[in-house]
Chain length 396, copies 2
Amino acid sequence: MNIQNALADRVTSLKASAIREIFKLLGKPGIISFAGGIPSPELFPINIWSELLKEITLEEGSNAFVYGVTEGYAPLTEIVCGINAENNVGKDFDRTIITTGAQQAIDLLVKSLVNEGEGVICEDPSFIGTLNAIRSYNAKLFGVEMAQDGINTEKVEQILQKENIKLIYTIPTFQNPTGITQSIEKRKKLLELAEKYDCYILEDNPYGDLRFKGEPVPTIKSMDDKGRVIYVGSFSKTLAPGLRVGWITGHESIIDRVIVCKQVNDVHTPLINQMLVERFIKKYDFKAHIQNGCELYGHKCALMLECMDKHFPAGASYTRPEGGIFLWCTLPEGINTQPIFEECIDKGVAFVPGSTCMVDIEAPSSCFRLNYSTMPDDKIEQGIKTIGKVLTKYVK
Amino acid sequence: MNIQNALADRVTSLKASAIREIFKLLGKPGIISFAGGIPSPELFPINIWSELLKEITLEEGSNAFVYGVTEGYAPLTEIVCGINAENNVGKDFDRTIITTGAQQAIDLLVKSLVNEGEGVICEDPSFIGTLNAIRSYNAKLFGVEMAQDGINTEKVEQILQKENIKLIYTIPTFQNPTGITQSIEKRKKLLELAEKYDCYILEDNPYGDLRFKGEPVPTIKSMDDKGRVIYVGSFSKTLAPGLRVGWITGHESIIDRVIVCKQVNDVHTPLINQMLVERFIKKYDFKAHIQNGCELYGHKCALMLECMDKHFPAGASYTRPEGGIFLWCTLPEGINTQPIFEECIDKGVAFVPGSTCMVDIEAPSSCFRLNYSTMPDDKIEQGIKTIGKVLTKYVK
């Protein structure tokens, strides 16, 4: 008996996220990790959450432990609609549902919108979780390279002219992995293209609130008056990823189907998690909490860039993000960052090699991703110095 | 613009679970609901859970709120393997992962195993959440009727001979919705058929520990020495459904792919939920907790049957479960229970009309499902009396 025969086609070539595989290497004590993608745990108000969880269970009693509605815990949905409103997200035709993290939001949207064989355009590099979700439904990925102001929209249009594209996936603000923010002109252009070629935009915005420099750029969803944009938000970067609470705001005809997919996926997002987020935001100063994050990440990003300026060879170029938690480093063409990654791991420093985030994961990449939100200042200095030393061996 | 065009084929004909729609009707104050499917909330040890949640957040600190591994929180996996061992589940080739409820387990397994157009055999009636999950991947459902000792295995073989079947889905113990327990002979036969026709068995066992009468029957998984059976367990009925914690135990080559699907689905099951289940079972007497449930449900089931014997017309027949939380009532052929359901709702009593649980949800059904685990004794008496009165108008 060959168990491999048991598998559906859609999963046979699917590879585990290399980033999550990297996490398994990080058990090594004292390792300096720039590979993560989480907010700084020092910002977690553990004592408050602890008290709130106790309070929730005592006040809500069994209501916190029975089945909840698939759409989400109504008081949390109300809070989310308030957050949306500040980003001008949510028209009359839209509806919002709570999801088990933004990852579930993306999975359910790909499932609800994209047939096997249909195409999805995305930034290249992009968020590996989305790339794998798209692959897992046997959809076709079309990666488009990034400029300093976001995805190359001419290339997007060329693909739209030739291929059967259902969805454009974009993280326009503080993109993962590059930290790049798409210009307003490109946002308008993408919306125009979605209209012209009758496809939809999935705007993934987990980092948008974490701006520490420059001026806010309107969300694509805020400019959408027809229902072309489906917006995904998350509390993973503004509160904590382990809670697994995110949301989708999109045209009600789409959300209506997404709800049925969520019903068969996990029935509903666990209640105590939804209640914790709701109570924290209602009772405490969520804006101040986010502001603390912005200040910390602004400081850490500046520190990391300063160290890179000092220790990285001249041939290395990198983005200078205005927010979010990642920056992206590019080495001269032809240099593969995979062996550099392995050498750095040996020396006790981790990052994410670029190939991991590419549509073509098999091709070598001369890029890598650095996260600056979680390591203490001295580790940032030490870790960047170590990477710099390794890089000078490869970059002449 | 027609938003309907946005949708993938797999979801266009998908209908929301009628059971979850029924729940929305239950807001009516004082309604007696036999429509639910949860353990009795009076058994929830709220004060203990409240203390444990506080303790977890204080002791684990940020570890409870960062990303966890997709496979599940290791100490919980260990607990689950212990529970499995008591049911003789888990061979050397097997691997166990934690899921966000058993519903996610089922969804991920259908996604990982069944191609669009391939067939899945299931009991008819069956658990609506699974039927919809199968539909949502464009797989073909083949329903097989139940006898008092479980699914008709001759019919199963007839279908296997003719169709391209990948999976047999069964809830062998205290089936939802019928309460029926499959005989050991039929379990062996199903395993034999899976071998002979090279397909797999998904054994869904959320109720197995809730036996209040009769002798335990071995799980199908316990007889599987080749990896033909994928076993799904859940804490939704033995602890609380709102926690959303379940698991899968199956051949490692299959679980390996399921993990990748879970990675792109929700990254991992929320940590505080996994930690709560783990600590409760480690620190308290989980077996006594389950035993309390068995005693309560045994009592409530007997009471409900006694009331049915007294108030239901002679033409109504029903199952007499030895465990679990449901029983199944069948009226003479040709009687549609949908209008009976509507009349009962008007009179303040809810149940689940049979059509909801059938592979062909459009066909009228002469059956309905009753849950006995949640209502207090006086409501059981009153509710069954009310249903009985309505039934006598329809059953001559």
